[in-house]
Symmetry: C2
Subunit: 180 residues, 2 copies
């Protein structure tokens, strides 16, 4: 994977794709599927929502770090199945033939099969709302990944794949952050 | 517009489309464009991020209500232009030929030209992070709206349109909330 400019990392998350959240606790890697996330301004800061009902919650609150991975269309079934089993009794990397790669700033693993990976540390945990606030530390991108289309959860078991792109830069050039 | 079941209102927002946020203050309707939002669990609860740099911020904090409208592909240019001008000196409904419709629970207007509209009240404002937490009060849907595809902001002035849908319900039936 190639380093990706940190100030542009939000462009992977802003479209709202389903994400995989990698954690590592007690020497074990784990992954959860998540679609309740949002970009926080143009800084490399993100928020997502998860709670004690999720096995990854303990690792997140304890280690205060994770990796946000961006899967693409060909992983759709795997992504759903990752969300439908539990790290308490399943080694998800093994079960789904995924390859953990060492991150640079956190112990949580990158996922080789994903289009992009963002190393993050938890900077705040708004317990009242189960919201985690994250700061991105490094971003990685696989330029050889042929499939670029991500998937978006509808919430009813169906998923929308990315369609075509529209370029409307000329109508909002003054609103874009520098270098994006 | 037809009433849409409130417990399914999150299915409009979970895929992460660009949204229009309608407010009404001092007798004037206003709209802002927003893509920093997320679903909060399967309840009709949402979060979005905006701050004092946005003219709608004052109306949101004062009236504690808004309407979340979901525009589709044919409105893409309008959506961007709405985000590129300011309600302080512009009547955006007039400028962009949009039709305000009376909501049932809030003074903020629905937008007739959108696929769906969700009336919301602000239940919390996490000032430290500029996050607003919203409870949905009623949801509306235009079944005759031919274009169903929404748009997703990349953040660099380009937008991804909805592509085809994948049905993976059978792999996550046990995770879906009742009636969805």
């Amino acid at each position: 994977m190639k380093k990706f400019p940190l100030h542009k990392a939000f462009t992977f998350l802003e479209p709202g794709p389903v994400l995989l959240i990698g954690t590592r606790d007690k020497g074990k890697n784990n992954i959860m599927t998540l679609s309740w996330s949002m970009v926080m301004d143009f800084t490399p800061q993100f928020a997502f929502l998860t709670g004690p009902w999720n096995f990854s919650y303990a690792a997140l609150t304890k280690t205060k770090e994770c990796v946000i991975s961006v899967p693409t269309v060909e992983m759709a079934q795997t992504v759903v199945k990752i969300g439908d089993c539990c790290g308490a009794d399943t080694d998800k990397f093994k079960k789904f033939n995924l390859t953990p790669l060492a991150a640079q700033n956190v112990k949580a693993p990158l996922i080789k099969e994903c289009l992009a990976n963002i190393e993050c540390r938890v900077t705040d945990h708004i317990k009242k709302h189960n919201i985690f606030v994250l700061e991105a530390l490094a971003a990685w991108y696989e330029p050889r990944h042929k499939e670029k289309r991500t998937i978006h959860a509808v919430g009813d078991g169906t998923f929308i794949t990315d369609g075509h792109k529209i370029n409307l830069r000329k109508f909002m050039a003054d609103k874009l952050p520098p270098g994006v």
